[in-house]
Symmetry: C2
Subunit: 415 residues, 2 copies
């Protein structure tokens, strides 16, 4: 049995205890929050080693910033865990129920998924966030973070494990894989005897690798090639405001937009107004021929690649379309199925767009930046699913559960 | 582009039409039912070829029987399709909804999964059943049946396609892969650009192969290593009746039981009563040492392999356990997570078993044979999921849907 198989086995055993742990889970979460605060110095010291290693390895300032854990960030990490304790426990919720003709009472109830694996990259706060959400829903978790944050992750995981145990739950409810070689991720992806689901959190490359290689069920998260379509009847200033917000309020996240589509009958008026907003943050526009006719040569020509790219930067592709159908077809071809928006005053266009666009979140007259567990009222978020199976869009504790049927009879047999 | 990729593309295009097809789907289903009846002769002729080929290939009488389609079976196939038309359409159902503090109306609504692949074995009636359920939930389907039934499947699929088109839906809403080589299944398992989910229906070997090889999301179905636990406080005759029913009413199906676990304090009285029932159908019992002490040498010794095996036959493994915890631990170790039952009169034992046993269906005092979409009131069933992601237990049309968030705003942007 390898180290990781052994972790799988221990996680499965812990998950059986967690499945019926009830309110002890909240006691454990609050103990974790206390312990994170109490051990701030320890975490900061471990984090300092990661930061030094990161500088030596030439990480960019923005990556170093994501890696850094000061006492403020540790405090907000602990507050996040406390908030998870306050969410309603989904386990035991009756989803549906009825009595059959022969008198059996059937109920379908929510149960934990069991053992969840999380593969993630540089941000060490994911260690606490993800573990807390998994625990809340009664799951054991095996974390496999990036090598850049390994010392921070080890410190956080150790503190959480001790706190969970002190609250009376199995110490192996939370485990961290300390080996950050490629081999350890591959082993986790193949751990089908123990893992009920694997959730990758990170860039497109990581997610694709996991989806292609994993033999365990995976929930695909996060890649967002998002669009705003400006309909013929749009309020132009509203369109410009939404596009400006969706592109520039935080370009590096998955719910930021990458391409706008503009109806030909409004393009001449709308494009200059949109450009005026985008110019405030020096957004580079890459446009189709018709866009360039209107906005001039400061707009570089857009290629097919541009329409496929999640820029995650101050770059926006732009295409003039002949109709709402053209916009819907473009989205069907290029979107990653995350979030799309129509800006319109027309009732029929709004309905057509929301029913025909096949993405996790479809907006009328609001910024795609709202696609987020917190904004959608889920309390906290383990990730944003861009697949259709099991969960779609922002996933909270409810999405970390399965169901089972409980059938209470009095001796019934089947004919 | 290969033949199967091209089918994927056509299915995706068809799925976009089906997503908003509404009641036309029912018109199409009724047209399919009519066409199946009208073309009975054609189906029977095609089926005769399969039967002749099957005899020549040395198929067993029971396999030949599963393959055979007389006019009665075709009629019941058509009736099955008509029943699917009568089920409520899940598409558009609002799962939840609320208004955010900033005035956005968020609703989570059911939408089709998109394109579903089904890989199945010898029974040609699956072609009609599965296609009807997928269509009802607004999905395009790509069917890949076994080579034994290929002529029957081709006839049925062609009839369905024509009928669906006559009702005004895309002919490629239903497609059958005519190439029954291994290569065609492998291609389908890798069709990640087009397939939203792949559902294998068949024996353990097929399901394992699909789970291990597929790069698209899979719903694992059907393998049932099911248990009955006879608690210390059980009504002995009820236990014997349930065991007899769950083992012998149809041993070849996944909800039949394979092992019984008997509390040591009731074993001496219960085992002879259980054996008396099982002897009516000459069920072979393979028991642990304590079982053999009570029932004698007619019981062969059980091995670890026996506890792992889905016999699908008149064979039953038996183990005497020291406590309900022993029963729960045995089930945790050997069960495939399908259906388990406790026979008990004790309130606490019933609750402990239903909360601690981690299977899709957990029974108190009723036969596991009820785990079935029809019996559970789902109308019809595409399969029984033994995984925890997306769907668990019998799956009907609701389990062939996903959700999306629709957000209606009035210009909201995110701070």
């Amino acid at each position: 049995m390898t180290v990781i198989e052994n972790m799988g086995k221990k996680a499965k055993d812990a998950s059986r205890v967690l499945a019926t742990a009830g309110a002890i889970k909240n006691k454990a979460l609050n103990a974790v929050a206390d312990a994170l605060i109490d051990n701030t110095d320890k975490i900061v010291k471990a984090n300092d080693i990661d930061l030094e290693n990161g500088k030596a390895a030439g990480l960019t300032p923005s990556l170093l910033d994501r890696l850094k854990l000061g006492s403020d960030r540790i405090k907000s990490m602990a507050e996040g865990v406390r908030k998870v304790a306050l969410i309603n426990d989904p386990v035991g919720t009756v989803v549906s129920g009825y009595t059959t003709d022969n008198g059996m009472e059937i109920t379908k109830v929510k149960v934990p998924l069991g053992v969840i694996g999380i593969i993630y990259e540089a941000r060490p706060n994911v260690t606490a966030d993800a573990a807390a959400l998994c625990l809340k829903a009664g799951n054991a978790v095996i974390l496999r973070g990036g090598k850049e944050a390994i010392n921070s992750n080890k410190a956080i995981a150790e503190i959480m494990r001790t706190a969970v145990e002190s609250a009376g739950l199995p110490i192996d409810s939370i485990q961290l894989i300390e080996d950050t070689s490629r081999q350890s991720s591959v082993e986790l992806m193949n751990l089908s005897d123990y893992l009920d689901v694997l959730i990758p959190r990170g860039g497109a490359g990581l997610i694709r690798a996991v989806v292609e290689q994993a033999k365990v069920p995976v929930i695909e998260t996060g890649v967002g090639n998002c669009h705003v379509y400006v309909d013929e009847s749009a309020d132009i200033q509203m369109a410009a405001d939404i596009i400006y917000n969706a592109k520039t309020s935080r370009p590096s996240v998955c719910n930021a937009i990458e391409t706008i589509l503009v109806h030909k009958n409004i393009a001449e008026k709308a494009l200059p107004a949109i450009k005026k907003e985008l110019d405030k943050k020096n957004v580079e526009i890459r446009g189709c021929d018709r866009t360039r006719e209107i906005l001039g040569d400061s707009v570089t020509p857009a290629t097919d690649d541009d329409y496929e790219t999640e820029f995650l930067d101050y770059i926006l592709a732009c295409k003039v379309v002949d109709s709402i159908d053209g916009a819907i077809a473009h989205i069907a071809k290029y979107s990653s199925g995350h979030s799309e928006c129509i800006v319109t005053k027309d009732y029929n266009s709004a309905n057509k767009f929301t029913s025909s666009v096949d993405s996790a979140a479809v907006y009328v007259n609001a910024s795609t930046r709202f696609t987020d567990g917190g904004e959608f009222g889920l309390g906290a978020e383990i990730g944003i699913s861009t697949q259709k199976l099991h969960a779609r869009g922002p996933m909270g504790v409810n999405e970390l559960t399965s169901t089972k049927f409980i059938i209470k009879g009095s001796g019934q047999v089947r004919n």
